[in-house]
């Protein structure tokens, strides 16, 4: 039981990162940016390719993968999202364009790397640390530690730096920020990159933990979206609450029923939340 909960928390940490990255982009850019799943899958494959095929150290390949994810996020914003924003396209139009980007990236990855699932675990050591009854792999510990660390750093950036306050200003009122001379397009681009970094970090962490398939981006982004909506749109702590809840729910569902019901449980929980508490667990406003 405790073991299941622990595994759930470990998975939940990476969901939280995806949810936080998605939430950042959503609150600042007002885009339902599912193309983040493309960033996710590209970062995971870059990390895998660099460390498993080219033999680079895990740290270096992780850093390169996150950078690649950030660059891809910036490209998507400049070439797809920004023109739509400038034209004042509706959220549905932006959502569909974003979905198109996700489909394209995912299938490009599938064409380049093939449909087969890759597993990285062959490269990492399979030591297991025991804490009483609890057993944890080094990867799980690393996932939790890195997620917390990255979240804290992002939180500090948002709260204490000038750039962070610009991001919060645009998220609060884009027009007013524009009037006060904030170049909102640059700020949104910055938020997009920061969100992509969070997503890519989660992807790299998961790449070391489980198997890679081209479709993982689709699953990841929608779990992130669910965690974000359940947790409470617009707050960092909400993303964490949602991510952990979903992580634990998925693992408990596997334990009680079978893996096949995981997605049903996750999206069932979402429907329940949309019905009875649409503001999420941690409601910001």
């Amino acid at each position: 039981m405790w073991q299941v909960l622990f595994n759930g928390v470990s998975a939940g940490c990476s969901y939280s990162l995806v949810a936080a990255g998605f939430g950042l982009i959503y609150t600042v850019g007002r885009t339902f940016h599912v193309a983040n799943g493309g960033v996710y899958v590209v970062a995971a494959y870059v990390a895998y390719f660099l460390s498993a095929r080219l033999g680079l150290p895990a740290g270096v390949s992780a850093a390169v993968a996150v950078a690649a994810g950030a660059a891809l996020g910036a490209l998507i914003d400049v070439f797809v999202c920004r023109p739509l924003r400038l034209r004042d396209a509706s959220t549905s139009v932006q959502l569909i364009a974003s979905l198109g980007v996700l489909i394209v990236i995912q299938n490009l990855v599938a064409m380049v790397f093939g449909d087969t699932a890759y597993s990285y675990s062959a490269g990492t050591d399979v030591r297991v640390w025991s804490f009483g009854e609890l057993r944890a792999t080094p990867v799980q510990i690393a996932v939790i530690a890195t997620s917390v660390l990255v979240s804290v750093i992002t939180g500090c950036i948002l709260s204490y730096t000038r750039w962070g306050s610009l991001i919060r200003a645009v998220a609060n009122d884009k027009e007013l920020a524009l009037i006060l001379g904030v170049r909102s397009e640059h700020v949104i681009l910055g938020a997009m990159i920061l969100g992509s970094v969070l997503t890519a970090t989660a992807a790299v962490l998961l790449a070391y933990d489980t198997v890679l398939t081209p479709l993982m981006g689709f699953d990841a982004v929608f779990i992130g979206v669910v965690a974000f909506l359940i947790g409470g749109p617009g707050s960092f702590s909400g993303a964490w609450a949602g991510g952990l809840l979903i992580g634990i729910a998925r693992h408990l569902a596997t334990w009680w029923f079978s893996g096949a019901w995981q997605d049903v449980i996750v999206f069932g929980v979402l429907i329940v939340f949309l019905l009875i508490r649409p503001k999420g667990i941690v409601s910001a406003r």
Binding site: V80, L84, V93, F218, L270
Partner: protein
């Protein structure tokens, strides 16, 4: 020739799906990603009745439409009050849940194994066992769906839907029960989509959950949007285009796995390009979701 007929059948089936979804996307202005679940409900109901009960095809088809209508009512009751992106995600969630039930209710649907050896449909005492006959039936269904949607849209009901699309708060202020009209459109769309599912099940003689994934919902929505949401011929154009375009890849002789991905890439690129350059679709006039 058989190949051409096969494509024609699929064009007709997807015309039904796209036309019925257009009632929601184009005319009521709500983007739904649950449509393939209604398609699946129709297909599975018909298949299960045909295999286990051997009831006549028209009865099975009607029951399939009815059960899909009930499912659509459930989905509408859950999601219709949500707005914008939240509605889209709620329909997406409903799709995942419905498909999860279909894929895991092994006793009824045989789960991932799928239902095979579905008997040929018998219509008016004549067993349909050639592609031609199915093409005729699918064409009839497509015409029927097209006519139903056009009739509804030009009726007072359709005018209310258009009002809801343009400004639902205003429509509400004029005393129209917006949720009632949206739900009704949802149910009609679900019933029509189930008709396509019934034909698909009997034509393919084999169904499994992989034919009704979320990607299928997205594909149907792409047809509507690329063709032109809310226009008379847009969904038909979109369905025929997106069915025929990938066949060109087959002619080029690419290996199957590459062609499958290339097809998806084409859909994705088309979506992005259309959103940037022509949000009203190829033959449409109403800029989708302003």
């Amino acid at each position: 020739m058989d190949y051409l007929i096969h494509i024609a059948v699929f064009c007709c089936i997807y015309t039904v799906l796209a036309e019925s979804l257009d009632l929601l996307v184009g005319h009521a202005g709500i983007l739904s990603l649950v449509h393939a679940a209604f398609y699946a409900t129709g297909a599975y109901t018909c298949a299960i009745i045909a295999v286990h009960l051997q009831w006549p095809f028209p009865v099975a088809l009607l029951l399939g439409c009815a059960s899909s209508g009930v499912v659509a009512f459930g989905v509408a009751a859950l999601s219709i009050r949500l707005r914008g992106d939240l509605f889209v995600i709620a329909t997406f969630a409903c799709h995942v849940v419905i498909l999860g039930v279909v894929a895991n209710w092994i006793g009824l649907t045989r789960g991932p194994l799928g239902i095979f050896d579905i008997p040929h449909a018998v219509v008016l005492g004549c067993s349909l066992d050639t592609g031609w006959q199915y093409a005729l039936m699918a064409l009839t269904m497509a015409l029927l769906a097209w006519a139903v949607v056009q009739l509804l849209v030009s009726s007072p009901f359709g005018r209310v839907l258009h009002a809801v699309r343009e400004d639902d708060v205003l429509a509400m202020a004029l005393g129209k029960n917006v949720f009632y009209f949206k739900s009704l459109a949802f149910i009609v769309a679900g019933v029509l989509a189930a008709g396509a599912g019934g034909i698909y099940a009997h034509y393919m003689r084999f169904i499994d959950p992989t034919s009704f994934t979320v990607m299928e919902s997205i594909l149907i929505a792409s047809m509507v949007i690329i063709g032109g949401a809310g226009s008379r011929w847009g969904p038909v154009v979109g369905a025929v285009l997106l069915i025929c375009l990938p066949e060109v890849l087959r002619v080029l002789g690419l290996p199957g796995s590459v062609a499958a991905h290339l097809r998806q890439i084409i859909y994705g690129v088309l979506l992005v390009v259309m959103m940037r350059l022509r949000p009203q679709g190829l033959v449409g006039h109403f800029a989708f979701g302003r």
